[in-house]
Amino acid sequence: MRLNRLTLTNWRSFKGTNTIEFTKDKQKNVTVIVGQNGTGKTALLNALTWVLYGDTTAGFRRPNDLFNHAALKEIPKGKYEHMKIILELEHEGGDYELIRKQEAILSNEGNIILSSPTFNATLTRNGLTKHIEQDDINGLLPPGLHPFFFFPAENIGKDIDQNDAAAIRASMSRAIDVLLGIERYSNSLKIISVALSDYLRLPSNTPRDSSLDDAENDLNIKRQKWEQAIELKTKLPKEIKKLEALIEDLNGEIERAAQYQEALNSLNNIKSDIKETEISTSNARERQIELINANCALLFGRELFSKASKILDKAHRDNLIPPRVSTGLLEDIIENNKCICGRELGHNELLQIEAVRSKTVEDQIAESANSLRGRLPRLVDGELDKICAQEILKYSIKICENGRKLAKLRASQRELLNEQPEISYNDPNKTLEAWKEQNRRLQKYETDLSEIDGKIDKFENDKKASERKYQQILSKYSSAKLVSRARNILSEVEDALTKIQNAIRSSARQDVERAMNEFYGPLLLKDYYINLTEEFRHEIVDKQTNSVVGVSSSEIALATFAFVGSLAGLMPVYSNLERLIPTGEKGSVGELHADRYNAYPVVLDAPHSPFGPKYALEFSKALPDLLPQSIVIVREDQLKYLDILIERNRIGSAYLLQLNTSQTNTSTINWMGKQYALVVKQDSEGPSFTNISQLPIG
């Protein structure tokens, strides 16, 4: 497949009609598009997905706002304007033209009305042109794969552990299933399974004996075991993938926590000092209060206590202080409604007792008064104790000192948290616990998966044996002979589908792994290779030690690019496989070759973003030899990575996205020794827009 031309009319920031001719030169096979932020680089990538599928990439901002604003503003009342994308491509000797279009009308009332987008596509082969449908396009390039052929590399970002990158990795496993058409086989298997379980049984009104019931039950159990194992085999790798992403995130957290360890230790010391000081203050206060209570006459003067003592004595003599009553006993009597001799109390008796209990409030007064009467003479007659006064003063000083210390400690705590806010919520112990827990789960899933792998053949054989036994018993019933034969036909299809699915996955694993390594090797500066597991998970292995290694984010990003390349290389082969295998025509399959020479084109948005300068340069160097046609969309500050392509004469066409705006801006780029303006000043005050200018090559 080769992309020939892309024509944009009023698409997003692109006003009017702009055309990009993609290079078809086999030597100069890279098309470069340069633009600064905000000029529509990602919109350009999305123009391709929109014209192909009517869809935009995940993360594309304002996906429902596609019509150029400046063009909409200029529509006269009652008139139409259109937004349109045309993609011309060639594939296997056919010329395809795809047009997706949307119209806008400005009503007489001044409202803009947008039509639903329309799609029109033609294929011209051997001079004959025919209309083709969306399904034909989906067959050409499955929608499940478009995120890889139109690859928004900027989403990988500076940190490979971020969500977008995790989503890309998760969709890689799904992309392989799409590439191989695996879902078609698993869906066919589901259908046959339901047909055998629910629709091909002995009619329920037929008299049956226990041997048939037993065989049916046995078959149900064996089939269920086999189906559960198949389901787990599909589900567990996805769970493992999720856990791995989570563990990677936790690894990052642990690393970050280690960086903050020193600050965290300081914070913990401050916290411990604060707690200690607070306890010391509290103890000092308590001790001080005790001393004050014991020596209050010293502090408040004897006269006050002498007067109080006299007043209380008089109150006692005048019977103003009520007598003491035992409240506990009264409470028991009221609660149990019984006298202490066990007799039930009458209503009036109870009221009387409750009335007596009300005096217990006064009883408390009596207690306090008596206690005070006992203590007051001591207070009045007590000696001035200098040592005690000094001690009280000492505690006052201690409390003041602690107050000053606490203020200092709290200020240090605030300062530390301002400098490194991460430590306020990052608890390394908890992160480590979570990491251990997720690793335990990962190990369990991996053990489960390996156990299932070991048992799945046995489950399949058990199911087959039960099926044969069931069919034998069924065939003894004259009414069920037909059912038995029908089951035999479907069982044979089920068996073949299972084997084909396994064979495709197994061969494809080797092909994808080999293809990934062919792309990874030239990009990588180290002696690593990619190992693709049975579950289509990729891990990076050191060739010297033959062990899985932790690699840098650049190296992981390169593995993602290797996957993009391997899809592009394998696509022409598997699209043939797609056509040939399902027909089931004997002898028509033959031997198929993966074809990197005719690999599909790949459009890379900001491909240098995930790398450091060294790898970015290596990537540019290797790209033209890895893919027969690649389109790179770059920011102006990444142009330096393309110098090597200019030097080696590998660029076949180049374009500049120029922003037209009323604001003054003089930024330029240097392209092959000449300056080109990134911004063009427009006279009117209308919305800014972008146009595409061709840059010279060679």
């Binding site: 869906n187 259908i191 046959i192």
Partner: protein
Amino acid sequence: MPTEDNQKKLTFNAEEIRELIAEMQQDSLTIFASIISEVKDHGNALTDVVINELARKYADKARMLAKAGEEE
């Protein structure tokens, strides 16, 4: 540029699949080709309702083929 040698390294041997298909009885092959093509037409996301409908359809089809075989 990629070379012809590179291509040869990436070989998908579909012989095994061809043999599996060739080994099937004619009735099974008919069902196989039909079900694969029908599932493709339906797209990959099949609902339970569609699976159930297709299961009934293929059970009937298998019964019909079995009956035709019996009559022969």
